[in-house]
């Protein structure tokens, strides 16, 4: 073999190996992408299913508000649910009928992504039963860690359907009434082809003003 032949042979070998490497690398990347997307979809679907079944079974005496909270540190959207023993409980029973459940969508100041978190606590005996001020409740719940349900959400959209006024609104402030529907939109992959999940949950109506 001449030197030229060896060089040509090596050149062809390098091109072939390079091609095979590219194909295998693309295959691995694709498998990883599909796997990641499937897990994300599972996480979001599970959260949606849990929320749907819990809102659908919300006790008739339960009260809820949902408002944005900006305390200067972590922007968040906070659901406050009271008088709902068993709401979003799956590993253990509610500790008390007076337990307060906080479901929050919190934005991470580092990367701007949102997380769905849960916190439940039994307030002190003298804590007012009609207190729905998010700051007072967050203060009472300080020190109790958030349980992270889903992380890395690009964007969150929440709306409430007022069954009496027949219109959608961005917050729910009157704890004496309950929304007929809650719409939750989660964009969990912001690419050229964004992946999102939009779900509407129905809450059983309660006639009149519910009393605590």
């Amino acid at each position: 073999m001449t030197l030229i032949e060896v060089m040509v042979a090596l050149g062809v070998l390098v091109i072939l190996v390079g091609g095979i490497f590219m194909v295998v690398q693309t295959a691995l990347k694709t498998v990883l992408l599909i796997d990641t997307r499937a897990s994300r979809e599972d996480e979001i679907t599970n959260l949606t299913d849990i929320l749907r079944s819990n809102f659908r079974n919300l006790p008739s005496r339960a009260h809820l508000t949902a408002v944005p909270v900006t305390d200067g540190k972590v922007p968040e959207f906070l659901f406050i649910v009271r008088n709902a023993p068993g709401f979003l409980t799956w590993l253990s029973a509610a500790e008390s009928e007076n337990e307060i459940v906080l479901l929050a969508f919190r934005q991470d100041s580092a990367d701007g992504h949102w997380r769905a978190c849960l916190k439940r606590f039994v307030p002190a005996a003298n804590f007012p039963r009609e207190e729905f001020d998010p700051k007072a409740i967050l203060k009472a719940a300080a020190g109790i860690p958030w349980l992270e349900l889903v992380a890395d959400i690009e964007r969150v959209g929440i709306r409430f359907f007022d069954g009496n006024r027949r219109e959608w609104q961005d917050t729910w402030t009157d704890w004496r009434l309950r929304p007929a529907l809650i719409e939750l939109t989660l964009i969990y992959e912001h690419t050229k082809d964004p992946r999102s999940s939009a779900a509407v949950f129905w809450i059983p109506p309660v006639k009149g003003v519910a009393k605590t």
């Binding site: 194909v23 694709t30 599909i34 679907t45 659908r56 129905w202």
Partner: protein, 122 residues
């Protein structure tokens, strides 16, 4: 003996290589298609449940509503009809409605149906 490759040998080697690469690309494509289909099915199921839930927010009235095809080429039709529910003796129970949501996949001629029964207090 100093001889190179025959044309036949080269063609054979290239053919094997091409077959292997095409197989790999096809399997990748199948994976991506499965991922897309999974996303469509999940979205279809979510939308179907949401349309059923939305129907519960209104007092049930006999109606038919069409939702045009979305990004995934799936259209939805919601029908609310009085249900024919009879108890022993043949008495018809009034004010019970059947809500049916049909998700029609216009690409694959596939449909998924969700049903719910609701009672309208008079």
């Amino acid at each position: 003996m100093n001889r190179g490759f025959m044309l036949l040998e080269v063609v054979l080697a290239l053919s094997i290589f091409v077959v292997a690469v095409v197989g790999l690309v096809k399997s990748l494509n199948a994976g991506l298609t499965a991922d897309y289909q999974q996303q469509r099915l999940t979205t279809m199921r979510l939308n179907l449940q949401s349309l059923l839930d939305e129907a519960l927010a209104e007092p049930p009235v006999e109606s038919s509503t069409e939702v045009p095809a979305d990004l995934f080429h799936v259209s939805y039709r919601r029908e609310i009809k009085p249900a024919d529910v009879r108890i022993s003796g043949g008495t018809n129970l009034p004010n019970i409605f059947k809500i049916t949501v049909t998700a029609q996949d216009t690409q694959r001629d596939n449909r998924v149906i969700g049903t719910l029964w609701t009672y309208a207090s008079p």
